[in-house]
Amino acid sequence: MKKRSSLNGHTILLFITIGLFIVLYAGGCIAYGSKGFTHLQTFLNILITNAGLICVACGLTVVMLTAGIDISVGALIAMDCMMLAVGMRSGIGAVPMMLLVLLVGIAFGAFQGFMIGYLGIQPFIVTMAGMFFCRGMTAVICTDQVSITKEINETFYNLANMKINIPFGGYTNKKGMYMVPYIRVTVVVALLVLVIVYLMLRYTKFGRSLYAVGGNAQSAAMMGLNVKSIRMRAHMLCSVLASIGGICYCLNTMAGSVSQALGLEMDAISSAVIGGTLLTGGVGNVFGSFFGVLINGTISSIVKTNGKLASSWPNILTAILLFVFIVIQSIFAAVRNRRK
């Protein structure tokens, strides 16, 4: 009975997040309908620009469920992009490079996970060192901005520019041409990641044990779960998902540079928090994080469509939203505690 009521509390939070997204988007449609905000493509563009962030947010949700944190993901993405760009420039194929990036992600995650799980060092410190390392390594690989052009690698270029058309929701533009809405490969990847992580969290033994470890590590250990190994695997999964996100990000930007994806980890964390994941662990859902990313994307999209607002507004608006959400969360928590 008790479990049911607490579940409902979190479902309400998720509904608030989804509701807010709908309200924001509808607001955008009403205010900027004339500027094309109502077209399906606007929504798809939010997905396209944030495909990488969706993967990263899924990974962070997994880590946050175990009461951990990973602030190295943004730097890891920068390193991935640089590896891809420099590797392909020196003539290595797109597929081997992508596999290499994933392998590096696994190794990097395993190392961080080992430090956190087995040596018991605070995740914040370990991943902060990881962030410094990746950001520095990016510069060690190459200090210039390297773009990936068609001449450098055609497979990668084609992959990035591949349009997957959607059979409905098109519109006729001012020149009278019919515009077919499309998505990129990255969106498919991101949505697949989202669904797989959701199913994993919901139906696999590993997924359930993540919640158990985050809820109360001591009782999880007493139940016979290997807390250390689960923590380590959670961090590995996060780094791998971040690497997948890095490939998506690279397909989007087609370049590697030292200052890429600066602060992306904080975007991912705020998305997860807006989506109802608690940093204390044990509570959260990847779909919430997905809508968190969409809310962030909608805000930037609205500010961009407006065109007159200063570039700092998306940050401020996201922060205000974050503020509102955590206050709502804390009120929920207080109510629940009182009921107990």
């Binding site: 940050n315 922060a319 955590i326 969360q329």
Partner: protein
């Protein structure tokens, strides 16, 4: 005997690790100077150098470390208290620094002015305004953490992403230059000594006096160790956590003024970038647990200077600014791994085994 008791005191106070790290960095410097054929004690050399703007000033690598490390050291003071009382980190200090710098320069130059050599308001108004802005940010963070019970990292994440942006708005998306000698003072020299060093010393002295002469230090530690027990024994836990965040914000404000005075401008995008990381690292290096409770201010400050010494050493070794973080990361990982419980336990086991073997042989 006296040596041993000194050693014992050192290990007990938790200053061993930070001091050893600092000595290690210095040793690397000495080795490097020997290898490259310079004076082995180049690192410690302090000379008087004549500058056109400030007359004779102290010059040397160690002065540089003390000077450049000022902001991190000032932030580390506040961060230590926050970590101790709330078992969480304030990740907004870097952004708050930037906001305070922007606010201060905005006041001094007037809104919308991008470059000025005459001050719009008296210097003291601008500087106090900047510092008070820091306290205001601290109040915001403190309210969320102490009274709403939100995890410190999430609560401070709000200002982490917003403060820099608000600073940009205040400056009308411009980099505001205040080309006035009186404003540049905080980042230049007082006599031969760099002013940031003096400001840091003042901050440390005031804080030490406050913690030693009043019960605040003890209260903070007791709240950090067990907030509920402290409340039951009559402490207002929430208010103490709240106060630590305000102090942290105040110091972020001071650090922001110093940072912006160094470059006589408010570069919102770059002031205090990643400094929150350095401050948190300083606290961890200083032997403080990030899980709250007992704290050691001296350790944090030595930690801050150790980080700066590492950075300066790396630059001296010819590592570029963007590549330096790799080495920093490796050093951090080594230090925290040495500090971790399993490694400590393993070392202790080995030491005991060795002692037992030797005992058996005799």
């Amino acid at each position: 005997m006296t040596k041993k008791s000194f050693w014992g005191r050192l290990t007990e106070s938790g200053l061993l690790l930070p001091i050893v790290s600092l000595l290690l960095v210095m040793a690397v410097n000495i080795v490097f100077d020997i290898v490259s054929g310079n004076n082995p004690f180049n690192f410690f050399m302090i000379t008087l150098q004549h500058t056109t703007s400030n007359g004779n000033v102290l010059y040397g690598r160690i002065i540089d470390v003390l000077n450049r490390g000022s902001e991190a050291a000032i932030l580390a003071i506040g961060m230590t208290l926050v970590v101790s009382s709330s078992a969480g980190t304030d990740i907004s200090v870097g952004s708050v620094m930037s906001l305070c710098a922007s606010f201060c320069c905005m006041l001094l130059a007037g809104y919308g002015v991008s470059s000025t050599s005459t001050l719009a308001v008296p210097l003291i108004v601008g500087v106090l305004g900047g510092i008070l802005m820091g306290a205001l940010c601290g109040t915001f963070n403190g309210t969320l953490v102490a009274y709403f019970g939100i995890q410190p990292m999430v609560a401070t994440l709000i200002l982490y992403s917003a403060a820099r942006a608000i600073g940009l708005l205040l400056c009308n998306d411009l980099i505001v230059y205040v080309r006035n000698g009186s404003f540049a003072f905080f980042g230049s020299f007082l006599g031969p000594i760099p002013t940031p060093i003096i400001i840091t010393v003042i901050c440390i002295v005031i804080m030490t006096l406050l913690l030693r002469k009043s019960a605040l230090g003890m209260y903070i530690q007791s709240v950090g160790i067990n907030p509920r027990a402290s409340r039951i024994s009559g402490l207002n836990s929430k208010r103490i956590i709240f106060i630590t965040y305000i102090i942290c914000g105040l110091f972020a404000g001071i650090a922001g003024i110093v940072a912006s005075s160094r470059i006589t401008s408010a570069d919102s995008n770059n002031i205090g970038l990643y400094l929150e990381m350095d401050a948190i690292l300083a606290v961890a290096l200083g032997g403080n647990s990030l899980g709250g409770g007992r704290f050691n201010l001296a350790g944090s400050i030595i930690g801050a200077y150790t980080i700066q010494a590492i950075t300066t050493t790396l630059y001296a070794l010819g590592v570029s600014t963007t590549q330096a973080p790799v080495f920093k990361a490796v050093i951090v990982i080594l230090i925290v791994a040495m500090q971790s419980e399993p490694v400590k336990a393993y070392m202790k086991k080995r030491r005991l085994a060795k002692a037992a073997r030797e005992g058996g042989a005799v």
